[in-house]
Amino acid sequence: MSEHLVEVSGLTVEFPVADSFVRAVDGLDFTLEAGQALGIVGESGSGKSTVAFGLLGLHRGTGARVRGSVRVAGVDVVDADDTELRRVRGGLAAMVFQDPLSALDPYHPVGDQIAEVYRVHRKVTRRAARARAVEVLDRVGIPDAARRARSRPHEFSGGMRQRALIAMALACEPRLLIADEPTTALDVTVQAQILDLLHELRAETGAGLLLVTHDLGVVAGSVDQVLVMKDGRAVERGPVAEVLGTPRETYTRELLAAVPRVDAPVAVHVHPGGGSTAEDDGVLLEAVDLRREFGRRGATVAAVDGVSLTVRAGETLGVVGESGSGKTTLGRMLVRLLDPTGGQLRYRGRDIGTLGEKALRPLRHELQMVFQDPASSLNPRRSIGESIADPLRAAGELDDRRIRARVGELLERVGLDPDWYHRYPHEFSGGQRQRVGIARALAPEPRLIVCDEPVSALDVTTQAQVVELLGQLQRDLGLSLVFIAHDLAVVRQVSDRVAVMRSGAVVEHGTADEVYDSPQHPYTKGLLSAVPVLDPTEAAARRDARRAVVPG
């Protein structure tokens, strides 16, 4: 017997769409040895997750067509009968899913769920299974595991849930762990912890690991081998250091080049003309002790809790923070989509924080916003031209020809074909849609654009292009930008100055270089050290450093 832990050859998976089939995986071959870790990397649509699901035969009964052979721990997954397949699932190979909240049953205690899985594969008593659940929960670092085992998933934080899912995967001591984007839904600090945990467990149990991710930084520190996928095929495969260090294929190189780096800023931004001479005059927008509370009397939560910052004409202010830090709320307040509940918001010296909708309207066009999710930021039922033209019409422009011309100009400016006026959003890719969103924000000739996570929903290559476009526009038009993101690297790439937010407050504020190169606040330091790096050696070093800081 070959005794590869995983042996995939000629795997092709096709999904039924309307009247035809779409090929998600196209003749893939790879193997994974026991105890080894393989990372499958690719952008969305590359078929990487389909491969992961194929290893457990999860396409069975869905109408998908699977060809080729998949052997996991000696079992032919494609041909196995249902009973045998169930033995593989969880028993020989266990999966860690992406979104830990929805991946657990909301109605049952976490411990029971793990115990249930354990009893599917081992003939043990309920009590023994519970004990095993506590044991594995304890192992993945859930404090007070015996008590927490009785909690339901919604009582756990995101990181804890992901740990619980890993615990479930460990329960039956599988020989293979399959992790499908295990950290995508998590903040960067938590992501680091989870990756560290997976690493440790692998070392301890000797299980093989198949890590599926879109993030090259994640694989760098976690796997031995990397498989780069594109359009269902393998582009490149090799040891992680080799692929990331000296990629052979162009695609891999492009991919690597597009990854923003915290350590090496790409200077796309340009400091405003005249440098910092006219500092006082340059202040465009100023927030003073800005506050925003949600909820009703008695039970209010301050999403933004006294933030003061300034945006100067022509500069880019980066706002970085993890989920729940209040950065989106802040961004929406800056353009007055949300009303502040306290503090002042001054635009060119005038307090606009308390202006009513009517009084605000003449100013509206000067403050624009680019949104995170390109799918929801364009009306699916209106052509993109109409969407872009909307602010023009609202401003009173009636002449159709002039509107057409102006929209064409804007489309061209963001790198789209000016003749696409009549196309609808669904005809575009995510990156293109984001360009449309930017064109629309530009239409009313604003002075300031708040970009709320403008690239986080995009693939890494697209991400780089959009970032590049924003920088270009800023240079050309002398715009001020507020760039809000959770991704420290992206923020560094574009920002002149950076504000780090946590729990509704700014904990650190300074020029990009100051904040990134010599962080003062411990929170900033923690954040920076958690950012995954592309160099496997460096990644290992950082892991050791983290372990030293946070024991257990």
Partner: protein
Amino acid sequence: MTGYLTRRFLGMVAVLFALTAVIYAVFYVAPGDPAQLACGLKCSPVQVHQLRGQLGLDEPVYLQYAHFLKGLFAGRDFSAGAGVLHCDAPCLGISYRTNEQVTDMILNRLPVTASLALGAMVIWLLLGIGSGLLSVLRRGRLTERLLTSLTLAGTAVPVFIIGLLLLLLFCAYLQWLPFPTYVGLSQDPQQWFWGLLLPWTSLALLESAKYARLTRSSMLETLAEDHIRTFRAYGVSERRLVTRHALRGALAPVIALSALDLGTMFGSAVLTETLFGLPGLGKLIVSSVNILDLPVVVGVTLVTGFSVVLANAVADVLYAAADRRVVLT
């Protein structure tokens, strides 16, 4: 969450009261004189005048409404001729026609409507959830297609057609069942059961079709959720996925809806009660509308409306309790 429920509840109660005011106004402008009707057509003008005074109909409509509200919160006294008729809060007034307390009239009819609604609910839940689950478990087979067609057809049949056909079949031709009559449960449980079986079935057949569809779609939706996929990926069998992991989530909307339907049933069983001649709230209000017996109409409306408001609240709570992820804002 409590705050939300309270607000929602109070809002609906407020609107309910506004509604009673509307009913007063509508009846005020409606043709026909309640006093004349209560007195009888041969009553002399003097007699009608006296009766109008006795019923308080000579007062302006807003005062009449104010008295009604006072009675509701503080109780009222009515002249009984010999002595007074004390009507404790919540007092819905007394019938123009019989001088009976509306509260009593409603309480007397309530068991009929409640028996009808509760019994029907038991049947529709059993039938509806059962066939809904069956069609999910037999996905893609003939059973599913059969059940889907049947339930689709079921939702299309009005209760008075089903009822009539059942009557025709079981009472007239086969004579397996007695003609439906209401006999109190405490009086004779067996007759109660047999007497209501047909009304229950007519109501339930219709409802169960709706519930089967809801159960099915809710179950399919739940089965498509990520956590189901998790357990499938861990080798848990399909049957167990359905019974242990999907059922509860899938039934949450079903339970919530049945609480709502139960509440609505108190006011909407008119057709069934009319068809089968059951002396419930629906029949009471229909006959009261005909003789402009305003206190009874308002009373029944308030009570049935309130039952639905309550059912709404219960449905919300049940839903939240069943689905821990739900946040009420």
